[in-house]
């Protein structure tokens, strides 16, 4: 099969790009691993400045618009297993079906994956990532358990805690992860606490009033270490900033969690105690899935932790590999509105690649760039503060990249 554009990933970035390409008459094939298109939109439900964000509705809207273009095809339950440069374009192969697709341009919109936290017995049934719990509750309408606990601070953990408690799930709170041994890559206890700054505006009014307090490391440390052991009410549950999960308990499945106090330095103090839970959500954060981009030979920015491995990309999602574009969380962890604007921008890159005209669609590019800025300004959550710095470094790397010829 041949197509002008192949889009890998039917999440907010991939679908937004497909709409732009669809309305400009480009033969486009969108593939996704899952049986349902929408990617992470499917599980999202939160309150933003402009009201409720219900990801599933956003996905439905995108799909409805996409349905108007007979030149756009959607192929689900399809993972790309190979992507090889051939005859000026790219040949993709798939895990679930034989045969190949030849595309002149490829948009990699493979999004992000969740990172689990390796604490003792984390491989027991009932231990899952926060995103998995989100999908269970919001997509499948299944409660992940009777009583759970969220381990690890981070934007996604807080958002999912909020969603789960709204869905009536009982939570023992949000606690710190272990921070030594195989979990030491999560950083220090201060790093975990600092993440509260990114979400404090979502908390109750009295918590919002604490913003100046948590803005200073000096006070942040004292407030967090001095919190009551039973926690600070927030997001329908309790935030327990001086309690760490040190192990899961259970034989066949999770039956509880071992908790212990930590002091201002992150050192475990006192005796551990057991609390009964039948599920646990691990929140080690999200990281881009840049494998396909890396495999095309596109220049990458690598990180020691692997959490920030992304392709070097240009203003319309170009990578240094010819005909390979990228958009969405594969470029860094941000919200769905940002991914949608990135998808639209990347469609400009694809259109220019197909036409060979590097200056066309300038007005659209400007509009999408503005939309991207607005989406960033209005983002209710900052997933990882490192990304703005990394994106700045990538802008420089892109400007200084070795040019062909």
């Amino acid at each position: 099969m041949r197509t002008e554009a192949l889009i890998i990933g039917a999440g907010p970035a991939g679908l937004s790009a497909a709409i732009e390409l669809g309305q400009r008459g480009i033969e486009t094939l969108v593939v996704d691993e899952y049986p349902v298109p929408g990617g992470r939109l499917l599980g999202q439900m939160y309150q933003s400045q402009s009201g409720w964000w219900i990801g599933r509705r956003v996905a439905e809207d995108l799909l409805e618009r996409l349905g108007r273009f007979p030149n756009v095809h959607l192929m689900l339950e399809t993972s790309v297993s190979g992507l090889a440069h051939a005859g000026g374009g790219w040949t993709a192969t798939f895990s679930q079906r034989a045969g190949t697709v030849d595309a002149q341009a490829v948009l990699i919109a493979t999004g992000a994956t969740e990172v689990p936290i390796p604490l003792p017995n984390w491989t027991l049934p009932g231990v899952m990532t926060v995103g998995a719990a989100q999908t269970m509750a919001n997509v499948h309408g299944v409660r992940p358990g009777e009583r759970g606990i969220i381990i690890g601070f981070g934007a996604l953990a807080f958002a999912v805690a909020d969603e789960l408690t709204r869905a009536g799930v009982d939570l023992a709170g949000i606690v710190l992860p272990p921070l030594q041994g195989p979990s030491q890559w999560l950083g220090t206890v201060q790093d975990q606490w600092r993440r509260l700054r990114d979400v404090v505006h979502l908390g109750p009014r009295w918590a919002r009033a604490a913003t100046p307090l948590v803005a200073s490391d000096f006070w942040l440390e004292r407030v967090m270490a001095g919190a009551p052991q039973k926690g600070i009410p927030a997001l329908g549950t309790v935030l327990r900033p001086n309690v760490a999960a040190i192990a899961m308990a259970g034989e066949e499945a999770v039956s509880g969690v071992w908790l212990q106090r930590v002091d201002r330095r992150g050192t475990l103090v006192g005796e551990p105690w057991h609390e009964a839970v039948d599920f646990a959500c691990l929140s080690g954060g999200l990281r881009p899935v840049p494998d396909l981009a890396a495999a095309t030979g596109a220049a990458m920015k690598s990180s020691r932790s692997g959490l920030h491995d992304v392709p070097i990309f240009g203003p319309v999602g170009e990578t240094t590999a010819p005909g390979i574009f990228a958009a969405g969380n594969v470029l860094g962890i941000e919200g769905a509105p940002v991914a949608m604007a990135q998808g639209q921008l990347a469609s400009i890159g694809v259109l220019r690649h197909l036409s060979g005209n590097p200056t066309e669609w300038a007005a659209e590019q400007a509009a999408f760039s503005r939309a991207l800025e607005v989406a960033r300004e209005r983002a209710p959550l900052v997933f990882d503060r490192a990304w703005s710095q990394i994106h700045e470094e990538i802008r420089q790397a892109w400007t200084n990249r070795p040019k062909e010829g």
């Binding site: 190979g82 192969t93 034989a98 994956t113 990172v115 390796p118 890559w185 071992w258 690598s302 020691r304």
Partner: protein, 97 residues
Amino acid sequence: MAKDAPSHEDDAVIVCRCEALTWGDVKQAMEAFQPTSLRQLKSVTRWGMGICQGRVCRPMMAATTVEDQTEAAFRLVVRPPFKPVAMNILGHEGEKV
């Protein structure tokens, strides 16, 4: 109900589910082989060589301290197939999708 408090041993924690590798195994290999890159660590422990090809456990590898801190030391190469493929699909000739 009385429960025994867990030991604080990190050594038994699984860090690679695919290869059933524990943190203790990793520490032992670090000592025995003194790897200077994640690639070398991977080759002596099989960390990340299973079905997930490191997609799940890659960040945990950052908990190790390989001597060399250059970008080349922590870059792991991605190789096709990017997702597991059955042999009859891999070997199929057809052009139709």
